[in-house]
């Protein structure tokens, strides 16, 4: 009696899921009309995506503005999530273009990538990409993950680089994005490359406010922030040196679906990359994160000042 009830319940759920699946797998009229901001990707335009942190959204706005200035029809789908979410979105055509970083992107496609210098990484990246995707020119702007500590804590332990942590990390708590648990540019990398194993790891966010606050308040001793993050100087943090280049070169680079690219688009994006360097990017990001300006406004401002739009 009880069992049959449960079976029936499950069957009900399954049937409904099935119904939902059938109802939506065909030519559903909702799919095209549903998002007011989309609709570009099929009509010769381009859909720009971004990861879910401010710098990525800012870069996406810059790309979008530069493309629009050249007459390309652009739709935006920003703040998608981590790489593990937006790369599939690129592959299934939900987006066509996204700002990326050479080192981590290479690691994503080639777990055994070796190069750490800027040009070497870029070459490896081009070789590692799937056939449908390509990267355009890399910019001089770089934004690496960094293991960051409070300066006072680092001084107290006498730590300047990640390597110095090896003998001390057993008593330390680290914090970073959840994906650090499994990525080579995360805990497995610290262990393998530096012999650093932390007492505990706290899953927080990708260089976001949780990590900043947790570092500030001492819930974690070391955390993952990005080197362009204005919070590092503002809060008296230091980024530990990375002598073995565990975090490989991370030049900002547009990742684009090959079939969507054309000379106009390439020209516009390469012009952006030529104008971007680390100092410029840091200054732009400070306007967004510290001065609370909109990424779209900062992007527009940058584009007009550098003659790109």
């Amino acid at each position: 009696m009880k069992l049959s009830k449960i079976t029936l319940s499950i069957a009900t759920v399954a049937a409904l899921m099935g119904a939902a699946a059938c109802g939506n797998s065909g030519n559903d009229p909702l799919s095209t009309s549903s998002s007011s901001s989309s609709g570009g990707s099929s009509s010769g335009g381009l859909t720009v995506g971004s990861a879910d942190f401010p710098e990525s959204a800012l870069l996406a706005e810059i790309y979008a503005g530069a493309l629009e200035a050249k007459g390309v029809k652009v739709a935006k789908k920003l703040n998608i999530g981590a790489r593990e979410a937006y790369i599939p979105a690129l592959k299934d055509g939900s987006i066509d273009l996204i700002p990326e970083y050479t080192g981590v992107l290479t690691q994503y496609f080639n777990k055994s990538a070796k190069a750490t210098d800027s040009d070497g990484v870029y070459a490896e990246l081009k070789a590692a990409l799937p056939a449908t995707l390509t990267v355009l020119d890399k910019s001089a702007a770089e934004d690496k993950d960094a293991l960051v500590m409070k300066k006072s804590k680092a001084d107290e332990l006498g730590v300047k680089s990640i390597a110095d942590l090896a003998s001390k990390s057993k008593n330390l708590t680290a914090g970073g994005p959840p994906e650090w648990k499994t990525r080579l540019t995360g805990l497995p990398g610290f262990k393998k490359i530096y012999g650093v194993e932390f007492k505990t790891f706290r899953a927080l966010d990708a260089g976001g406010p949780l990590t900043v606050q947790a570092l500030k308040n001492g819930q974690i001793d070391a955390g993952d922030l990005f080197t362009t993050d204005p919070n590092i100087p503002a809060n008296g943090f230091v980024a530990l040196e990375d002598p073995k280049s565990m975090f490989a070169a991370q030049n900002v680079v547009p990742l684009i679906t090959k079939s969507k690219s054309n000379p106009t688009i390439e020209g516009a994006l390469n012009a952006v990359s030529a104008k971007l360097d680390t100092a410029t990017l840091t200054a732009l990001l400070t306007q967004v994160v510290v001065d609370k300006k909109d990424a779209s406004v900062v992007a527009k401002d940058f584009l007009s000042k550098s003659g790109l739009a």
Partner: protein, 251 residues
């Protein structure tokens, strides 16, 4: 796909350590239970008082309605930004999530309490007064026992919502079963996400079942047979998302 989920669920590595299923389950129960307890301590007396005196109903009903409309994710982020710098240690991770869950649990629990007392047969109340009971005796001996089915119903509905919503607390750096969802999403490991979702659903069902059993023992047998007719009025439906009437089949 299903094989992968089963494999994930049966991997012994996922059943041990501070990140294993038992530990996450324990954390999940701890957050949810704590939030429900706080909410019950606040909401049940308030609901009983409103039902008993009939005062403040308008205000409270509307406040509860508005509270229900507060999006949990937004409130969570707001609480994290606001409270995190003010707190230290693990408490800083726990408190923002706890506030969100308590805010979520109060409206259904309170609605259950006042609707239960309000719905008590006036004749029973008058009879109690006629027997010389004081106001508090009427409340304690007549109204509360009679209201118990609806108090339980409100609490069960709150429990289901809280157990489900405790998952988004993982966004704020806490543990709990939500970790499997968030971590699984970040690295697109579907089996981990599905397993996490299944565990949450099973936990919600088990807790609901336990509460149903508790309800059966707590509610006076004289009540359970007769509450059916009343249970279909709109007032009762408004109690909560997953309202439970006293199931006639179960009693």
């Amino acid at each position: 796909m299903i094989q992968n989920i089963v494999r994930w669920l049966t991997d012994p590595e996922h059943w041990s350590g501070s990140e294993g299923i038992p530990a996450r389950l324990g954390e999940h129960l701890w957050y949810s239970g704590l939030a429900l307890a706080i909410a019950a301590v606040l909401a049940i007396p308030a609901g009983l008082a409103i039902g008993h005196t009939g005062r403040g109903r308008f205000l409270v009903v509307n406040l509860a309605g508005a509270a229900r409309a507060i999006p949990s994710l937004g409130l969570l982020y707001l609480m994290v930004l606001w409270l995190f710098p003010k707190l230290s240690g693990d408490v800083a991770f726990l408190v923002p999530s706890l506030i969100v869950l308590v805010v979520l649990a109060i409206p259904p629990i309170m609605a259950g309490a006042y609707a239960g007392v309000e719905g008590v047969d006036p004749a029973a109340r008058d009879a109690a007064k006629g027997m010389g009971m004081t106001g508090s005796q009427v409340l304690g001996r007549v109204e509360v026992p009679n209201a118990l089915p609806l108090i339980f119903s409100g609490f069960r509905s709150a429990a289901l919502q809280v157990i489900g919503t405790t998952t988004i607390a993982a966004v704020a750096g806490t543990g709990g079963l939500g970790r499997f969802l968030i971590d699984g999403q970040k690295i697109r490991e579907f089996p981990q996400m599905v397993a996490g979702a299944l565990l949450v659903a099973v936990l919600a069902l088990l807790v609901d079942l336990l509460l149903a059993v508790a309800q059966r023992y707590a509610v006076s047998p004289g009540l359970t047979g007769r509450s059916r007719g009343r249970s279909n009025t709109p007032k009762v439906v408004e109690i909560g998302a997953l309202r439970r009437t006293v199931d006639p089949q179960a009693s």
